[in-house]
Amino acid sequence: MELREIVTRTERIWIADGIVHCVVLPTATHTLDDAHENSRAVDELAEGRKLPMLLDTRASRGLDRDARLYYVRPEAADRVSALAMLIDSQVGRMFGSFYTNVHRPPFPLRLFNSEGDALVWLKEQVV
């Protein structure tokens, strides 16, 4: 299967086996512009499909409030069917706790310590 990948200012994004992989890069704090750019990249790769997503935030340099809210805006549910967050790092744990307690996304969210378990769950979420 052909593997296309888009690298934005703040993320590396690709799709494999119907799952969107997002790895946050240690470049900078995400701004709203970055959030737009990343969402566009996902749209482009997904070609209109609604897909589950695996998110690795371990190298994150944080994201500001506008960006945080953008990722979990109601319309985000049109593109993302489910989100698995890797929390096998301290930064990951923090984002995991934040998105479960403060700004809940409009799609199912599960936290995983292992990428393998995350992928198993995500495969069940393919719509």
Binding site: D64, R68, Q90, V91, M94
Partner: protein, 368 residues
């Protein structure tokens, strides 16, 4: 080279029989970065290597500590800003920071942003609520005023009609006009109370302080109330025991308060005693007067003792029909007492009677 013990010095230090203390030191040094094989062949060299490794590690550790201290300092400064309610400060996130430190910095930043956002939203909501409340009070004050004017006209014209009916020998018809007047007066009182409360809540009530002789004021009250007390079959006793009868207060407001609680006492007591008394009271080096109104009426249930001071609250919902009133009197009285720098409290026993105590500072309210 021969030592004093006559041992032969060897070229190979490993072969050198060592002083046991030195051997112990070398072994201890090597234990810091153990390399058993090297120690066996050359204890000194092994110890040197081990110490070099330890020194390098120490240097790295010191650099790490300094770096961590700097990063912690950054977090500390952020927390200090948050503690001073400055939520706009952000901790820097660096590539060469420890992951844990970065995680804390990112977390602090999110916390600051969320708190800042929430605080601003709360302040905005509070300001809007306050503005709305002031607008409501201002509206009530205005509308009450607008209502009073036509009502006074109605009461006035009813009076004229009544006189005309009497003159025309149509006295039987005056009953209806009397009802009209009673209802209008009740409405006027209600409007007056609403107006008062709205004015107080809109902060539009000024207190006019003057030196008031309480003996005179209480005597006048007694005279004013005498007819209605008699109507209710009650007896009003007055006990003024004041060493300092002169107090700084607003006589009109004080009258309003006392008229209301005396009016209540008279309303909720039938064929009983009402006692109006005044005495000096000192507290925390300040001089006060206590004015109390005690009745032998129906009393107030313990669980209602506080709520009767809320606006529109009466012990019994049927009270308005049975006793009249609006449930605003005590709410107004308490706010007025507040404005005069005093307090109003109540004690009561069901079916035995109630005591309302107004405590006022002799030298007037303290400047706010």
């Amino acid at each position: 080279m021969t030592d004093s013990s006559g041992h032969r010095p060897g070229p190979d230090p490993a072969a050198d029989p060592l002083d046991p203390r030195i051997a112990a030191l070398l072994r201890a040094a090597v234990a810091l970065a153990p390399d058993a094989a090297a120690y066996a062949s050359d204890p000194r060299a092994a110890a040197e290597t081990a110490l070099a490794v330890v020194a390098a590690e120490l240097a790295a550790l010191r650099a790490y500590r300094e770096r961590t201290e700097r990063q912690m300092e950054e977090l500390f400064n952020t927390i200090t800003a948050f503690a001073a309610l400055d939520y706009d400060r952000r901790a820097l996130v660096h590539d060469d920071n420890d992951e844990l430190i970065n995680a804390m910095a990112i977390g602090l930043n999110m916390m600051g942003e969320e708190l800042s956002h929430t605080m601003k939203a709360l302040v905005r909501a509070r300001d809007e609520a306050l503005a709305a409340s002031r607008a409501k009070s201002a509206f009530l004050a205005n509308i009450s005023h607008e209502l009073r004017t036509p009502l006074n006209a109605i009461i006035g014209y009813a009076e004229i009609i009544r006189e005309d009916l009497v003159d025309a020998g149509q006295e039987a018809l005056t009953i209806d006009v009397d009802r009209l007047q009673i209802a209008s007066r009740h409405l006027l009182n209600l409007i007056q109370d609403v107006l008062d409360l709205a004015r107080i809540e809109a902060g539009r009530v000024d207190v006019r302080l003057e030196l008031v002789d309480l003996r005179t004021l209480l005597h006048e009250l007694q005279t004013t109330l005498a007819p209605s007390v008699k109507d209710a079959g009650n007896v009003l006793h007055t006990r003024v025991e004041l060493e300092r009868p002169l107090i700084h207060t607003d006589p009109l407001r004080l009258q309003q308060i006392l008229l209301n609680i005396l009016g209540n006492a008279n309303k909720f007591t039938v064929g009983g005693d009402i006692t109006l008394s005044a005495r000096d009271h000192d507290e925390h080096g300040r001089a006060f007067v206590d004015i109390t109104v005690t009745d032998t009426g129906i009393g107030i249930p313990a669980d209602k003792l506080e709520s009767i001071f809320d606006a529109f609250t009466q012990v019994d919902d049927t009270s308005t029909r049975r006793f009249g009133g609006t449930g605003l009197g005590l709410a107004i009285s308490r706010r007025l007492c507040d404005l005069l720098g005093g307090t109003i409290v109540v004690t009561s026993e069901l079916r035995r009677g109630s005591t309302f105590r107004v405590r006022l500072p002799v030298d007037g309210p303290q400047p706010r």
